[in-house]
């Protein structure tokens, strides 16, 4: 692979609320290469969306990146001014959100909202900008774009609005597209349309995609590489095949056992016991250990380091460290 496009190093993001500091992201590192589709999967509160928002620096007022670096083509975004970030957003990196119903402004036409993005980031003006808007709407598969651009968001269905959001995100052909649960609010058949669209545009334009979702099916379908998050940390990462067929972290294993699949229709599911983590009250050791069947003493006390399983796969679980240690001592 060529040069790394985005390099997130030891990212910490906290929210300072009335109830104290909530450490939503605790030391997340990953790399994104040009043209790669990276999936970030996790439950609500795992810090997957906050990671995405930290890259764009669009956190809520109470949120702040407290530590770490985000290198875009070698430059650290966290040191950039707000003005410089504004040109980064949209031009280099775009984001589409979960809810296409609320991410468009209801009082402006689709066309004028798209034109805003075009005018802001390119030299096109007037008729030239309009032509670009029509081109964009065509690219995302909207019929009769001339008519559609004069309409308001309420005149479009959920799938259509998400297409408009994608068109807006792609207005300046960014290097990175962040899709935060892009299909969660949509029906299955519409979800299939949108996923197909993202895939084909990604191939055509060669951009990198960060797909944030809780849906393991979507992840399996779309992603080259996967990052599994729990409690604000990355617990496992690897290629799609490694994560699904050779999971090493107890959380990933549990998650895969607990979802209905083609193979386990006649069997009882094996759920992960307990409830999702309370981020105000993080355990001292591994975040997953209160729900983990295999938890050991050390899991309660210390956060496990990430260890290499093989060149395509890393996991942060004491079970693996223990197994590796035992193998070394056996060989000696």
């Amino acid at each position: 692979m060529s040069e790394t496009l985005l390099n997130v190093q030891n990212l910490h993001t906290s929210f300072f609320t009335d109830n104290g500091e909530v450490q939503a992201v605790n030391g997340v590192s990953f790399q994104l290469n040009p043209g790669e589709i990276l999936g970030i999967v996790g439950e609500s509160g795992s810090g997957k969306s906050v990671t995405a928002y930290s890259i764009m620096q669009i956190l809520a007022d109470t949120g702040r990146i407290t530590e770490g670096k985000i290198l875009f083509k070698g430059e650290d975004l966290t040191t950039w001014s707000e003005k410089k970030m504004q040109s980064f957003r949209g031009k280099n990196c775009s984001i589409i959100f979960q809810d296409p119903m609320t991410s468009l402004n209801p009082v402006f036409t689709i066309g004028s909202q798209l034109k805003e993005a075009v005018v802001l980031h390119t030299n096109r003006r007037g008729a030239e900008a309009d032509a670009r808007v029509i081109e964009l709407l065509e690219a995302v598969g909207i019929n009769e774009p001339e008519k559609r651009m004069k309409q308001y968001p309420f005149e479009h269905s959920g799938g259509m609005r998400q297409r408009v959001m994608i068109a807006m995100a792609l207005a300046c052909e960014p290097d990175i597209l962040i899709a935060d649960e892009p299909t969660t609010a949509l029906d299955v058949t519409i979800q299939a349309q949108i996923l197909e669209l993202i895939q084909s545009l990604q191939k055509k334009m060669g951009m990198a995609v960060i797909l944030v979702t809780h849906d393991l099916g979507v992840i399996a379908d779309m992603c080259d590489n996967i990052v599994v998050m729990y409690g604000g940390r990355i617990c496992e990462r690897g290629t799609a095949r490694e994560i699904f067929y050779n999971p090493k972290h107890e959380y990933t294993k549990g998650l895969l056992r607990s979802i209905p699949n083609v193979n386990n229709m006649k069997e009882r599911l094996i759920p992960i016991e307990g409830t999702p983590i309370n981020m105000l009250n993080l355990p001292k050791g591994c975040a997953f250990c209160p729900r983990c069947d295999a938890a050991m003493k050390i899991c309660l006390q210390e956060v496990p380091e990430e260890i290499v399983i093989n060149e395509d796969h890393k996991a942060a679980c004491w079970m693996n460290i223990k197994a590796a240690y035992e193998e070394v001592s056996r060989n000696e």
């Binding site: 439950e43 609500s44 269905s157 799938g159 259509m160 029906d187 299955v188 058949t189 519409i190 979800q191 299939a192 349309q193 996923l195 197909e196 809780h214 849906d215 393991l216 099916g217 979507v218 992840i219 399996a220 379908d221 799609a240 095949r241 699904f244 067929y245 549990g254 998650l255 895969l256 607990s258 979802i259 209905p260 699949n261 083609v262 386990n264 229709m265 009882r268 599911l269 094996i270 759920p271 992960i272 016991e273 409830t275 999702p276």
Partner: protein, 319 residues
Amino acid sequence: MSETLVEVRNLKQYFPVKVGFVKTIPLKAVDDISFTIGKGETLGLVGESGCGKTTAGRSILRLYKPTGGEVIFDGELITDSNITRMRKKMQMVFQDPYSSLDPRMTVEDIIGEPLDVHKLCANRKERRERILELMEIVGLNAEHATRYAHEFSGGQRQRIGIARALAVRPEFIVCDEPVSALDVSIQAQVINMFEELQDKLGVAYLFIAHDLLVVHHISKRIAVMYLGKIVEIADADELNGHPIHPYTESLLSAVPIPDPDVTRARKRIILEGDVPSPLKRPSGCPFRTRCRYATEQCAEECPTLTDRGGGHEVACWVK
């Protein structure tokens, strides 16, 4: 199939929608559906948003007064006059565990309310015992009884909702998207609980959901709805293995399966466009505007469900 518990015959549910000042037109949310559910059986009901699956569930329990058709429960026709008595045998679990529990009531009162309404407990002691028993069945601790709904997580709230439905010892529960609002790791806990309760208590479910993998897991048979009509109904494995209706076919192919090799090897059948508005329903077969195989006949006449062998019923002219 086992003995029939619920029989739905030509159920219709129209809602008047105002167009202009005085004129109203009917929105046909559920249009002439018929099916049966056996004792202790689970029938899955799937479809996209707006297809009428939730309305169907509510009309069966007479939360809406049906426009037409009838529901027969255990040999007895449900009418306005016997519905209070019948609701002792049929209950509902709602989708959103955040809005379906009264925030000003304690867990004990929420679960106890159906007991009070139907006067099932002779005294306070008996009521208390029954509530604790129900809480144990759904895996809640006795000390939770005096707490309020907001103190619980989504999965636990859904357990409270289930305990409330079980309070009257129903034979039939309509489950309206009971796991869609829950986190992935919690869904399995609740799905398992539904399955265990069925084994233990022999309740029948109408399990309404849009997640086809979840429905396939829990259901014995599955019905597929599109724009107020049932287009296909069959045994769960049969439907997933050999879908006949073009809509079912594309719906199944669109479900992302959490297995990279399997899901990437499949060919997705992408449907064009969106579901038409139920107010502007196409003539004939409701699916024909998005169907690859549509012919002239499809535009003229609406197909009815016909048996294609082994209880696999399909409503399609072409297939």
